[in-house]
């Protein structure tokens, strides 16, 4: 049958090269550029000589921040599992009242950038905060405890969502099958359900770990010394750039380790098929009189994650007061315009770069096209502060003309958010049947015209969604913006950072709320994409 012939064609290596050599080469070149920043870091580190590197590696502060980073990552992950898994079970497996409502509420904290959350908590419970009188004497919002608390509250939804997906996709007839094979409910759950749900939990936990490890804003605002904070401190201290570079490479290695773990577990869980489809409505646990206390759990999480930050920001706006215009920190609307313009440019640039990569990875099965697609994730996985530093090193040492210019900042956004655009574009390319292009060409249309008249109109929704995502995430990006923005070029994010640093919390309320709104919009874009895929 012809389908056999076609399936065979996909795996034949010479075919793609035959037809879209140009696209693949272009994509490969782009990927090389995307990976390049790390090369500058390595060059810079090597340039310092082995003795100094060794000294930095075994220095006292290195050990301290490694322990701190591991503690923060570990505790945040544990906390996220402790909150995310019970919430997932409650919203999927029980007869909790208003389950749909609580599901949305439990996922919503993802919308709040964690550094805004940290800012809200500090501005409420920190020194000179709104609610400082409620903090017991001797206790402080700063440090490990506060950082773990805030980070957990805003990243646990990763665990919640992946666990939920695993629970939803679990086919409960398997449980019934186990029970007909003489297993008690508990034994059946342990031997059949658990192995299928566990990969979902683990996948979410690893996402949390990666986030905690690379997050810059939260530990910085909460004054807790981890890799990201120290990299920034060293960067800002004249003469300590070398230390920042070595720390960055160390952080990259640790990140790589977590990523390797994640890809192994990801592959394993795909094999075990935790995303298998099936009936899952049968095993509802009746809560009985536990209903009310059970509802209090998601409700209190919602208060902490949503009501507190938004409420605090709103209170600051209402209060206005002396802090608002003091110290030359007055908010100007041009900051907003700056943010929109630079993010718009980044979105456009990223989209242009993403299209050839998406085409080559969706249409050809060569090693180069696979490598290219993987490479785009490199910038995504690189902690923002490390990427920012790498480009600072590049700019100050190799390309002074670019240093602290908008093109370099836009480049950082492209490198960092390329996978978002590639992802949405690629999935829409995959939905375009390749025979459509062949049909166009047998109707006398050239390859380029076929792309313009057939492929492009069909992938437009994916391309636009990708651009929107990049636009919205660029607007809220903190560390790279902080390191690379040109002098005098203030965005919403750098403004929030500056006034928070100086303690003028009131001034940051409006831009911070705006950033929450922006993040909410990006969530909507993602959800609408998922809706398209389903339909």
């Amino acid at each position: 049958m012809a389908t056999d012939d076609r399936a065979g064609r996909l795996t034949r290596p010479d075919e793609g090269v035959d037809r879209s050599n140009g696209t693949v080469l272009l994509a490969g070149a782009i990927a090389a550029i995307v990976v390049s920043p790390v090369v500058w870091l390595v060059l810079q580190a090597v340039g310092q000589g082995p003795a100094r590197i060794l000294g930095l590696l075994v220095g006292g502060s290195t050990l301290r921040i490694t322990v701190n980073s591991v503690l923060l990552t570990g505790l945040t992950t544990l906390g996220s599992v402790a909150i995310g898994v019970p919430l997932a079970v409650l919203t999927v497996q029980t007869d909790l009242p208003f389950r749909r409502f609580w599901t949305v509420v439990c996922a919503l904290p993802l919308v709040v950038p964690s550094y805004i959350g940290a800012f809200a908590f500090v501005s409420a419970f920190g020194p000179r905060g709104l609610l400082t009188e409620f903090v017991p004497t001797g206790a402080t919002v700063y440090g490990l405890g506060g950082t773990v608390l805030v980070l957990t509250l805003f990243v646990y939804p990763y665990v919640f969502l992946t666990t939920r997906a695993a629970l939803l996709s679990f086919d409960t007839t398997l449980l019934e099958a186990a029970r007909t094979l003489d297993h008690s409910y508990l034994a059946a759950f342990r031997r059949v359900a658990l192995p299928r749900i566990l990969p979902g939990v683990t996948a979410g936990a690893l996402l949390v770990a990666l986030y905690a490890l690379s997050d810059f804003g939260t530990p910085a605002i909460m004054h807790y010394d981890v890799f990201t904070r120290l990299i920034y401190v060293y960067y800002a201290t004249p003469g300590s750039e070398g230390a920042a570079v070595v720390l960055s490479l160390q952080l990259l290695v640790i990140t790589g380790f977590v990523l390797a773990l994640e890809s192994r577990i990801g592959a394993a869980s795909e094999e075990k098929g935790y995303a298998s489809s099936g009936r899952s409505d049968a095993a509802t646990i009746e809560l009985g009189w536990w209903k009310l206390p059970a509802t209090l759990f998601p409700a209190s999480i919602a208060v902490l994650c949503l009501v507190v930050p938004v409420g605090v920001l709103a209170l600051w706006i209402l209060r206005g007061g002396p802090g608002y215009t003091a110290g030359g920190f007055a908010f100007e609307w041009s900051y907003g315009i700056n943010t929109v313009v630079v993010s718009l440019v980044a979105a456009l640039a990223t989209t242009l770069v993403a299209i050839p990569i998406a085409l080559s990875s969706a249409r050809t099965e060569t090693a180069l096209s696979r490598l290219t697609e993987r490479a785009t994730y490199f910038g995504y996985a690189t902690p923002g502060v490390v990427l920012g530093l790498a480009l600072v090193v590049f700019g100050s040492n190799y390309a002074p003309a670019l240093y602290q210019t908008l093109p370099l900042l836009v480049f950082a956004y492209v490198v960092r958010f390329l996978p978002q655009a590639v992802g949405t574009t690629r999935s829409s390319v995959l939905q375009v049947d390749e025979t459509l292009v062949e049909a166009a060409r047998t109707l006398g249309v050239s390859q380029l015209a076929a792309f313009r008249r057939v492929t492009l109109p069909l992938i437009a929704p994916g391309v636009i969604a990708g651009a929107a995502l990049v636009f919205l995430t660029s607007m809220r990006e903190l560390p790279a913006t902080l390191l690379l923005h040109p002098t005098g070029f203030t965005t919403l994010v750098t403004y929030v950072w500056r006034v928070t640093d100086a303690g003028y919390y009131g001034a940051a309320a409006v831009p911070a709320l705006a950033l929450i709104g922006v993040s909410g919009l990006s969530m909507l874009v993602i959800l609408s994409q998922e809706g398209d895929d389903g339909g």
Partner: protein, 395 residues
């Protein structure tokens, strides 16, 4: 004697290239060739999909490439369309070399149209825009589009979206779209395989009507031998990248040039026989030499296999004075007919189909007789006999 030559070839002794075009594949003077393949080979790494294939398509005919899955028929079609580049060999369309030597014309530079298996309608364009796609962007083609839509009976579907169409309607639009630029040859890639069984037969007739009306030359690809025989002017049976036979449907069915063709086009049994004078002695009795198609004298005194189709033989309970020559070992009810598998005393197994009213008991001795009124095909013995229902040649 061509028949004898064909026999030799199926035993694998002849060069594959001499296999083609000796009987009906050779174009005569009044049959103008529109498309030709000459020794075309396509390799993918170590796999050879098309192996030195030569074929000519005549103006106005519908030729069907038919063969089992993975035989290379779709690849052949894609080579014609320019969607694949041949490893070697020459492809001509309307006398012009479009692939071969250093020449390679892209699909858009060839005068070919193609109807894809899944129709490949552009989902973002209306029916009319789909049909007008190949007519160029600059000018207005409203008249031509109307003409084609009325040809395929979809005039009122002008502004519909492809997603609103049924399978049969999509097929009509795809046909109209590929006919619009008036291609020298229309290629059909398993066009009926995505349709419901009921619709398939109807669309077969409909497509044949449209092709006849436009007079276009067409090459169809299918794995369904019934479809191939019912709509084609000629069929080309493809196996493992090579042509086994090119013939009219009747010719290929009655006079298959290989056991593979015999079995692929319909159920075939082979009964062994010994050529002695004016008869061939077989397990179903002596068959007159005259009833066997072109049995050459040099096969006197040798063993041959005679091909019988299920409707060529009947099995019945023996009369009291008759000696039975076989036993029914299998019985399958097929509705209008009943299929029996009879093991002959000679060891051969033959399939016979009867009217369902005639009842022959299972596991009883029967008398099997030849009831065919046409010549029978034959093959020299020497290779492993293809048993009842088998589809593979001896190697």
């Amino acid at each position: 004697m061509p028949q004898g030559d064909a026999m030799a070839e199926t035993d694998g002794t002849a060069e594959p290239s001499t296999r083609i075009g000796t009987r009906d594949g050779t174009p005569t003077a009044d049959e103008e060739t529109v498309v030709s393949l000459e020794g075309v080979t396509k390799r993918y790494g170590p796999t050879t999909a098309v192996d030195g294939l030569s074929l000519s398509v005549h103006r106005g005919e519908l030729l069907t490439l038919v063969g089992p899955s993975g035989c290379g028929k779709t690849t052949t079609l894609r080579l014609l369309a320019g969607l694949e580049r041949p490893t070697s060999g020459t492809v001509r369309v309307d006398g012009e070399v479009v692939a071969g030597g250093n020449a390679f014309h892209d699909p858009e530079e060839r005068d070919v149209g193609i109807v894809f298996q899944d129709f490949a309608l552009f989902p973002h364009l209306t029916v009319a825009e789909n049909v007008a796609f190949g007519l160029g962007e600059e000018t207005d083609h409203e008249h031509r589009v109307e003409e084609l839509l009325s040809l395929v009976g979809l005039s009122e579907y002008h502004d519909r979206q492809p997603s609103q169409l049924s399978g049969g309607e999509k097929q009509r639009v795809a046909l109209a779209r590929s006919l619009a630029p008036e291609p020298a040859v229309l290629l059909l890639d398993e066009p009926f395989s995505n349709l419901d069984v009921g619709l398939r037969v109807e669309m077969r007739e409909e497509v044949r009507r449209i092709l006849d009306e436009t007079g276009v030359t067409a090459v169809n690809v299918t794995h369904d031998q019934e479809e191939a025989m019912s709509i084609s002017d000629r069929v080309a049976i493809v196996r493992e990248g090579r042509l086994e036979q090119v013939d009219t449907p009747e010719g290929a069915f009655q006079r298959p040039r290989s056991r593979f063709v015999a079995s692929f086009l319909g159920h075939a049994s082979f009964v062994s026989g010994y050529v002695s004078g004016e008869t061939v002695d077989t397990g179903i009795g002596p068959i007159p030499r005259a009833a066997i198609d072109g049995l050459a004298r040099e096969y006197d005194g040798t063993d041959v296999d005679v091909m019988v189709r299920p409707d060529d033989v009947t099995a019945r309970p023996p009369a009291p004075d008759e000696v039975p020559n076989g036993e029914v070992v299998h019985r399958r009810f097929l509705g209008p007919t009943v299929f029996y598998r009879v093991e002959l005393d000679s060891g051969d197994v033959v399939g016979c189909s009867h009217n369902h009213a005639e009842e022959v008991p299972l596991d009883e001795p029967v008398k099997v007789e030849l009831s065919a009124e046409h010549d029978l095909a034959w093959f020299p013995t020497g290779a492993k006999r293809v048993a009842d229902g088998g589809t593979d040649d001896a190697r």
